[in-house]
Structure formats: structure tokens, C-alpha cells
């Protein structure tokens, strides 16, 4: 029991460092360019430093080609079924960017809980339906409006074009607008993009059924509501510890009675 608690404490204390370590992996330090391998995080393959292919980009393009993306769906189901929302909290580079932006000392706003459901609409409409019906060149196809693509793909490529003295090709207006709103949003709202992220929508579905989950011990919980205050997403972890919006940052485990911990399906434990 003591060992487990210390592991959680280590994870929460070093979350930024863990995210940074994974960022190095996603940024292709060995110049491997493994673009035939499906990644598991929201990181655009148009980025000159992307190691893996973006799973959302694969879903969009395969949908446009009317093909079922077996590898991408298999990878997402596998990772989701093992880790669930831990991917968003600990692995995602765009999540790291948001966590850093949240450190800017300005007043933070909370969005209502239902706002997180918009990402399912984003997934179904912009990632799957629009590319399937109108092809990848439709202006509302997700890749055409993706803020990650704007930041990691368009900006470096524009800089490269400017340095080379070539004509700088700007992304479309809608993409710039979405990017601007996302950047402003992530300063004023904790994990703003996570409430719209189609990849987070997929991983969120696995939160309740993943191998590792958040375990609430009702006998220990005193309903002190420290977890309510510490949750940056606005969930009430002692009531719904494996909520679909949860990114599993593990901040809710910091309460004194240690009522919430990490459980796994191999042990005889209750998932709240």
C-alpha cells in the first residue's frame, strides 16, 4: 500500500518531466521518421520533427479513401484498453503545451461539464463524416482546421519557406481562427483543447474499461471534496472517478485520506 502511494506521488510530482520525456520521443530525436507507424498522441505528421503518424490524421484520410483503418483503430483500442485517459495526462505533447500555458498567471475559467461532449461531435463530424462524404479536400475536414497541424506543421513549414526565400504559404483562415481560439482558450481554461479533442474522446471512452483505472475506496473517502477542487477538468472524482472527460493527471489522489488510487483489473478491486 505504501509502495503504491509513493508511486502515485512520484507520478504526480514529476508529471511535467514525464510529459517532456515523451515529447522528446514524439519529436524524433533519432530522425527515424516512422510515418508508417500509427502514433498514439495528438501530434501532426506534417511537423518536420514528427516520429509517428497522427492517429486522427490516419482516421481522416482513411475515411476519405473509404477504407477501414485497421492498424489505427487497433492501436487506439489497444492503448486505450490498457491506459485510457493516462495518454492525455502523461503522454500527449499538446497536453503538455496546455499545461504550460495554464501556468500563465491569469484568471482561469471553468467550462460546464457538457462542453466535453462536443469532442464526440468533432470526432463524428469533422474526423469521420465530412471526409467520408466530401473527401479530404473539404474545408471542414479535421486536418484542415486542426490546431496541432497549424502549430506543428504550418508554422515550421512557413518558417522554412521564409528562410529559404520561397513564397510563404499561409494556412486557411479557418485553421488560423481555430488555432487562435485554442491558444487563447488554453491560457484561460485548463486543458481547453482536451474538451474538443477527438483523440481524447476515443481514449475517454476506455476510462471505465481500461486495465489501469482510478480506484475509489468508499470506506476511506470522507467527502472532503479536495479532489473536486484539485481536478482541473471540473470532474467530481469521488463521485465519478473514471469519467470520460478524465485525463488521469492524478491530481485527485492528493487528498489526505488517499481515497483514490490506481487500480488494475488483475487485482480484485472495485472500479468505483
Amino acid at each position: 500500500m505504501t509502495k503504491k502511494t509513493s508511486l502515485i506521488e512520484k507520478l504526480t510530482a514529476n508529471r511535467l518531466w514525464i510529459q517532456t520525456a515523451f515529447l522528446i520521443i514524439w519529436l524524433d530525436p533519432m530522425a527515424l521518421r516512422l510515418h508508417s507507424v500509427c502514433g498514439t498522441v495528438f501530434h501532426c505528421y506534417a511537423c518536420p520533427l514528427a516520429t509517428f503518424a497522427c492517429p486522427v490524421g490516419i482516421l481522416v484520410n482513411f475515411s476519405a479513401l473509404h477504407l477501414f483503418p485497421f492498424i489505427a483503430v487497433g492501436t487506439l483500442v489497444l492503448v486505450g484498453a490498457i491506459l485510457g485517459g493516462f495518454v492525455c495526462g502523461y503522454l500527449c505533447p499538446f497536453g503538455l503545451l496546455q499545461d504550460l500555458a495554464a501556468k500563465i498567471p491569469v484568471r482561469k475559467f471553468n467550462l460546464p461539464q457538457w462542453f466535453g461532449s462536443i469532442r464526440y461531435f468533432v470526432l463524428l463530424a469533422f474526423v469521420l463524416a465530412i471526409p467520408f462524404l466530401w473527401g479530404e479536400n473539404h474545408p471542414l475536414t479535421f486536418c484542415k482546421i486542426c490546431p496541432s497541424g497549424a502549430l506543428e506543421g504550418a508554422v515550421p513549414n512557413m518558417l522554412a519557406q521564409a528562410v529559404k526565400g520561397q513564397t510563404v504559404i499561409f494556412p486557411n483562415t479557418l485553421k488560423i481562427t481555430v488555432f487562435g481560439i485554442t491558444i487563447i482558450g488554453m491560457v484561460f481554461v485548463n486543458r481547453f483543447w482536451c474538451k474538443l479533442c477527438p483523440l481524447g474522446a476515443i481514449f475517454g471512452l476506455f476510462n471505465k474499461f481500461s486495465v489501469f483505472f482510478l480506484k475509489l475506496d468508499p470506506a476511506v473517502c470522507t467527502n472532503c471534496q479536495v479532489c473536486h477542487k484539485s481536478c482541473k477538468i471540473g470532474i467530481k472524482p469521488n463521485l465519478e472517478s473514471n469519467h470520460t472527460n478524465c485525463i488521469r493527471c492524478l491530481d485527485c489522489t492528493k487528498c489526505k485520506p488517499k481515497a483514490i488510487s490506481i487500480g488494475n483489473i488483475f487485482k480484485n478491486q472495485n472500479a468505483d
Binding site: H35, G74, A81, G149, A154, F209
Partner: protein, 124 residues
Amino acid sequence: MPGGAPGLQNQRESRTRLGWVRFPFASAIFKIMTKEKKINRFITFILLLAAGALLYIGLFRTLKVQNLPLEKMTQYPKAYQPVLYISESQAIFDITLGGLVKLDSGGIQRTYDMNNKPASLCPT
């Protein structure tokens, strides 16, 4: 405790049920479904199996693509147009470069020739 340990008592009770004796498989599934945590565990295993199956299919399937630059398509009759079979991993690599497009005829066209270099930048 009257009747011994609760676990043993449950075991005894379940063995007296008709289903346990005659339909052990159905009874086993029913037992899994009785508690939420067991349902979750069951779903997790199903998801892991599904993921394995999807990856297995994805890694071994091939996709048929037309391998001729778009401008040369009209020069060849459909029967003589070169066709290429690529793996799904190769298809993923191609889409990261905007290298695959869907034709009006329903087929998939590779936008670069086998001898040519693919585009270096994503079209988005």
C-alpha cells in the same frame, strides 16, 4: 460464523443451482455478468482481443492502388493501367505525404510514380 466462511457458503449455494450443473459455460458467463467490476473486466479482455485482431488484420492486408500519375491516367485503358498492392503501413506512410487520393471511379490512386520521389510536405 454460522455455515462457515461466506465464500464457501456461496460456493455451496451456486453448486446446488441447476444451471451450474447442466450449463457450466452459460452459468460461468452469468457469474461474470453479475457484478459490474466483472463486466468491466470482461469488456477489457474483449477490447484487448479486438485490438489484437484489428492489428493482425491491418498488418497482413494489402490495398490495391493505381500506380500512375493522374495526368497519364487517360492515356492508358483501364485494363492496362499499372496496379500496385501496398500494405496498410505503406498506405499510412503515403497519406502522411498526401500520396493517396480517391478516384471518382471508386479506386485509390497513388499520386506519385514508383520511380519518383514522394512529396516532402503534407498538403494540409
